[in-house]
């Protein structure tokens, strides 16, 4: 199972804070995004935006990252702390 966490405006669009997805093996970040767009059409327009960062297990992830069963993925809109 992969846990996906949504923050700030993405939480509003997804109408959820957390979603869980069952996977049969490791998948690429691109594949996860595909699943998310199907499951949550409201995210389709923003998921590929360069301003949305992705974390895997609370570390920033590269575009070609691979996600394994048990991983926690964060979808992070532009930060505005400070």
């Amino acid at each position: 199972m992969i846990t996906v966490r949504f923050f700030a405006m993405l939480k509003g669009l997804a109408k959820a804070e957390v979603k869980e997805y069952n996977v049969s093996g490791p998948i690429r970040l691109e594949e996860l995004k595909g699943m998310l767009k199907k499951d949550l059409p409201a995210l389709a327009g923003v998921l590929d935006s360069r301003s949305i960062l992705v974390s895997i297990n609370q570390e920033f992830a590269a575009k070609d990252a691979v996600i394994k069963d048990g991983d926690e993925v964060g979808l992070l809109p532009p930060f505005s702390g400070g």
């Binding site: 923050f7 509003g12 964060g74 532009p78 505005s80 702390g81 400070g82």
Partner: protein, 146 residues
């Protein structure tokens, strides 16, 4: 002279923080400290043409704390400072209230100024914290880092 761990020096909390307490903590690291520079971010009533009536901050629990600790460690490594404290509030923050505090302590003032300014810029760039502004026309997530 530098503390190995960030015990009590890096915090994310809902309740207001004390500037005096943070300064006392960094000063406790060494009697060689001659300068403490602090940056305090406060909630102002105006932003990009809109009157703001309040703010809400959300963070990624765990990751945000990790990123702040990482900023402190990199500051200690890359600048000639002796200690650094960082505290950021979350939840509802009213106009005029404090949001974030960074305190950098060094022997000589230039190092503390540089490290403090670097740390707040790095915080805005790398820490998963988000601000929602309440204006007369509703609530808006702020989507850029000034």
């Amino acid at each position: 002279m530098r503390a190995k761990t960030a015990e009590g020096l890096v915090k994310i909390q809902e309740k207001p923080f004390s500037i005096e307490e943070a300064v006392t903590k960094v000063k406790a690291a060494s009697k060689g400290i001659g300068a403490v520079v602090t940056f305090l971010g406060t909630a102002r009533d105006f932003s990009k043409g809109s009157v703001i009536t309040g703010l809400d901050f959300e963070h990624y629990p765990g990751m945000a704390e990790k990123k702040l600790k990482d900023i402190r460690e990199r500051a200690l490594k890359n600048f000639d400072i002796i200690e650094m404290a960082i505290v950021h509030r979350t939840g509802r923050i009213e106009i005029g209230e404090d949001i974030v505090l960074i305190a950098a302590a060094s022997a000589h003032r230039n190092d503390a100024f540089m490290a403090c300014e670097w740390a707040i810029t790095e915080l805005k760039r790398t820490t998963p914290i988000w601000k929602r502004e309440t204006t007369k026309s509703g609530e808006v997530w702020v989507s850029e880092t000034p």
